[in-house]
């Protein structure tokens, strides 16, 4: 069986971008921290950039922990990479951590702000323990930048 990272060299890469609770409020929630772009704006840019790079982007959001776990499980053996901004579940969810560990493709934890620069309860991440990479503090640009990095990351 061809593993996901080898398949990525042959076919269009597939990535699921998973967004957790309250990210549907982007653009109106604490814009001084998260900016004025809505999640739809970001999704549109990621899909567009993905098409330019031959990366098929599935961009999803839920406020429910179980739904995030479902999406990670659905990605197993079906996509090459996951980019996950688990929002506040980053700091609490062993279930998401366990699901990510079951996914053998490339995994990036993403945050718009830098959680380590904020309240101490945001300093622990169960997601970081299960991902290959972590990108924080680059604002909403972080989403597109991670998409742009995927082709070379999957060749490494």
């Amino acid at each position: 069986m061809t593993d996901t990272k080898t398949k990525a060299k042959i076919n269009t890469m597939k990535v699921t971008v998973i967004n957790g609770p309250n990210l549907n409020l982007l653009g109106s929630r604490e814009p001084e921290i998260y900016g004025y772009d809505t999640l739809d704006d970001i999704a549109d840019r990621c899909v567009k950039r993905g098409k330019e790079l031959n990366v098929d982007v599935n961009f999803v959001q839920s406020n429910y922990e179980g739904q995030l776990v479902e999406w990670v499980q659905q990605a197993i053996n079906n996509v090459d990479a996951i980019i996950i901004n688990a929002g506040a579940y980053t700091h609490t969810s062993v279930a998401i951590h366990d699901a990510l560990r079951a996914f053998n493709g490339y995994k990036i934890e993403l945050h718009i702000s830098n959680p380590h620069a904020r309240e101490t309860f945001r300093h622990t991440s169960y997601v970081s323990l299960a991902t290959d990479a972590v990108v924080t503090g680059l604002g909403v640009d972080g989403y597109e930048l991670c998409i742009e990095a995927l082709p070379s990351l999957l060749k490494q």
């Binding site: 830098n114 380590h116 620069a117 904020r118 972590v134 503090g137 680059l138 930048l145 990095a149 490494q156």
Partner: protein, 154 residues
Amino acid sequence: MPNKSVLILNGPGLADLKSEDGSNDLSLDMIRGECDTLCANLDIDLDFRQTDDEQQMLKFISDDSQSFSALVINPSCLRYGTPQKLNAFDSAIKQVAHLRKPVIEVRLSNIFADPAETMPPMQGIDGGLGFVNGMGAAGYLLAIRAADRKLRAA
């Protein structure tokens, strides 16, 4: 518009990236080469440096970075040490961030993969700086692209 320029600093030990078992074929020269190519494409002047010397690194951050529009830094083990050393290092970084220049920390491997890891990413004067962790050489390229976006938006 003035030329965009990025200073990339690499801390102690990064001149020799070979792992003990020889499995790591990545070298700092390879990373430098990839950064050179990307910066040429983005019309960015690049200065790529490495030092094992803490005082020299502090000088690079405090003095030399003044003449660049963005700073990318892999501090390596400089994020560990006595509180005095950490304070000096953090103060220098905050000085740069205070000038509203993009500052992005890069780590080759995921430092959070080890649950015993306690050292947080560097902090700016009013919160987080950019942080790219665990992407190997690609992390440097992502950081350059991130700095380029910020400079174009400024």
